[in-house]
């Protein structure tokens, strides 16, 4: 199972804090994004733009990064801490 965490305004758009996916094998971040856009059409603009970063197991990831069973993925809108 892959757990996807939504943060800040993305949580509001998805109307969920997390989403879980059961996968048969490793997939890429790009493939996961496609699944998310299907399940949460409202997230499409954010996922297609450049401002939302993706983390895999709490490290920044790229679209080619591999996600596998047991991984935690974060959808991170622009930060505004400090």
């Amino acid at each position: 199972m892959i757990i996807v965490r939504f943060f800040a305004m993305l949580k509001g758009i998805a109307k969920a804090e997390t989403k879980e996916y059961v996968v048969n094998g490793p997939i890429t971040v790009a493939e996961l994004k496609a699944m998310l856009k299907k399940d949460f059409p409202g997230l499409a603009p954010a996922l297609d733009g450049r401002s939302v970063l993706i983390s895999v197991n709490q490290e920044f990831a790229s679209k080619d990064s591999v996600v596998k069973d047991g991984d935690e993925v974060g959808l991170l809108p622009p930060f505004s801490g400090g």
């Binding site: 965490r5 943060f7 800040a8 983390s55 709490q58 991170l76 622009p78 930060f79 801490g81 400090g82």
Partner: protein, 154 residues
């Protein structure tokens, strides 16, 4: 008689020096903790971020911070380690709060300590800039027009 002997540094657990917490922090306590690591500290520079009542012309009534638990702490620990490796500082502490924060309340604290002041100023300023750049923390501002997630870091 100790000529040119580097002053010994006491190691403090990073979990005391780098914290993300709901409750307020004590500036005095964090400065004391950092100072306790070495008698060679001659300069301490502190950055304190507080909740302002106005942002981009809008009156703010309250703030609310969300963070990615685990990842946010990890990023702050990394910033502290890089600050110590890349600047001539002796120790650094970082605390960021989450949850609701009233106007005027403390949000974030960075403490940088060095032998000479220039190093502490440079490391402190770098650390707060880096915190804003890479730490998964999000601010929501409550205004008369409603709540808004802040998406641009100035």
């Amino acid at each position: 008689m100790g000529l040119n002997m580097p002053t010994k540094k006491k190691t403090i657990d990073a979990s005391a020096l780098v914290r993300i917490q709901k409750e307020n922090f004590s500036i005095e306590e964090m400065v004391s903790l950092v100072k306790s690591t070495s008698k060679g500290i001659g300069a301490v520079v502190v950055f304190l971020g507080a909740g302002r009542d106005v942002s981009k012309g809008e009156t703010i009534t309250m703030l609310d911070f969300e963070h990615y638990p685990g990842m946010a702490e990890k990023k702050l620990r990394g910033i502290r380690e890089r600050a110590i490796a890349n600047f001539n500082i002796i120790e650094m502490a970082m605390v960021h709060r989450f949850g609701p924060i009233e106007i005027g309340e403390n949000i974030v604290l960075i403490v940088a300590a060095s032998a000479h002041r220039n190093d502490a100023f440079m490391a402190c300023e770098w650390a707060i800039t880096e915190l804003k750049r890479i730490t998964p923390i999000w601010k929501r501002e409550m205004t008369a027009k409603g709540d808004v997630w802040v998406s641009e870091t100035p």
